[in-house]
């Protein structure tokens, strides 16, 4: 192996020094543990959510679910090649959208409720207009966003005209949907980007990757603001804390964690009683409960502050692939390889 030239060697040394400095600075501010600061908080009961609706209609594994901003409708995507928009209050199907590719991995509902998006192993992100139908009576496809060199793993609408995507080619893109053009595209991680969560104020977002890190981004920038280490395997899901000051994560390493933005480090470490990987996570409206969908067919819950396991939601008969909390906090939607979608409240 050729010896590094002086500049490369110098940069590598500087890099190692910087990494050590980051760690030291983080340790300097680590003057308390999570559990210590919430002595005044009451203990939580075991989670009281039960299945309020079981939504049946998909005929293959359901991979992704996302609530609309109205906290009533949600969209699911399944390997049966369909998106279904559900009214979670009645349990009825509002629309069934046939897809060109059955390999859907991720879905998103625009907060306005006007659009849904999906993508997966077709290496594309497709956007449908919920309020307009095409000649066959299905929701009109308004954009097919192509050009990815890897699978589409995650997408989130910034508003009705812009969508943020993460993909298996390790990149993040922002698309202008009105003109169908990529506004921004950049390398984001050292591995597949698998999950995105937008801040409550929509000015920043967090990503998780198979490179085991999470990163914080400003919506208008192409360089990460902060990188978070801690997980020991793929980060499968991230969820911004409603306070905007932290985010939760769920990982293949069989733990969920809480990272604090302003002290730039992991502050919470949540383990389940069993031994299964987590696919997805969410937080309750106040941020007190952390929920995570698991390979063990249940959704685990924890008290985020006292770091205590507060029970599991039982009902699914196979892996829970994705969960979504209603924006107003009244319900949780979960979907599974068992082909069903459940609404818990």
């Amino acid at each position: 192996m050729p010896k590094d030239d002086p500049e490369t060697a110098g940069l590598k040394k500087e890099l190692n020094d910087l990494i050590a400095k980051c760690k030291a600075d983080q340790e300097k501010v680590a003057d308390a543990k999570l559990g210590e600061k919430c002595g005044d908080m009451g203990d939580l009961q075991k989670i009281r959510f039960v299945t309020k609706k079981t939504l049946k209609g998909h005929i293959n594994k359901v991979n992704s679910v996302h609530y609309s901003g109205d906290s009533r409708h949600c969209v699911t995507g399944s390997l049966d090649g369909k998106l279904i928009i559900w009214d979670t209050w009645s349990g009825n199907k509002v629309q069934v959208i046939p897809l060109r590719s059955a390999w859907v991995m991720s879905v998103a509902f625009a907060p306005s409720g006007n659009f849904v998006a999906c993508g997966g192993m077709d290496n594309m992100c497709t956007v449908y207009d919920v309020n307009n139908r095409d000649a066959t009576g299905s929701a009109k496809m308004v954009r097919e966003l192509a050009g990815y060199e890897g699978f589409l793993s995650s997408c989130r609408f910034l508003d009705d005209t812009h969508i943020l995507t993460g993909s298996g080619d390790m990149k993040i893109c922002v698309w202008d949907l009105e003109v169908g053009r990529r506004e921004v595209e950049f390398d984001a991680h050292a591995g597949d980007v698998v999950t995105i969560s937008l801040a409550p104020d929509m000015k920043t977002y967090v990503t998780g990757s198979v490179d085991r890190t999470c990163k914080l981004w400003d919506v208008r920038a192409e360089k990460a603001k902060q990188t978070f280490f801690g997980h020991e395997a793929d980060v499968n899901s991230v969820c911004y804390h409603p306070s905007g000051q932290a985010f939760a994560t769920a990982s293949e390493d069989k733990t969920a964690r809480l990272f604090d933005l302003r002290s730039d480090q992991q502050v919470g470490h949540y383990k389940p009683p069993g031994n299964s990987g987590f696919t997805s996570c969410g937080l309750s409206l106040s941020g007190r409960y952390l929920l995570a969908g698991s390979d063990d067919n249940t959704v685990h819950s924890w008290d985020t502050m006292k770091v205590a396991h507060t029970g599991q939601l039982n009902g699914h008969e196979n892996r829970v692939t994705s969960i979504s909390m209603a924006p107003n906090g009244i319900a949780l939607a979960s979907c599974s390889w068992d082909q069903s979608v459940r609404v818990w409240g």
Binding site: L11, I19, K21, C22, A32, S286, Y289, G329, I330
Partner: protein
Amino acid sequence: MDMMVSTLQQQRAVTEQLRREASIKRIPVSVAVSDIVRFINEHEQEDCLLVGFSSQKVNPFREKSSCTVL
């Protein structure tokens, strides 16, 4: 930390990024967590997972009565 870089350009980019990340201001964990605790306490009453529904009228999953408006 696994930083595999193959070219000088990539090495420069990675090192520059770390320079940026190393220079951010960090606040003490005790302060950060206190603020999160405060947020949770302030929003506790709106969190259905904690307090349930304030009345059955706001529960969209309740069994509807049999009256309908004609």
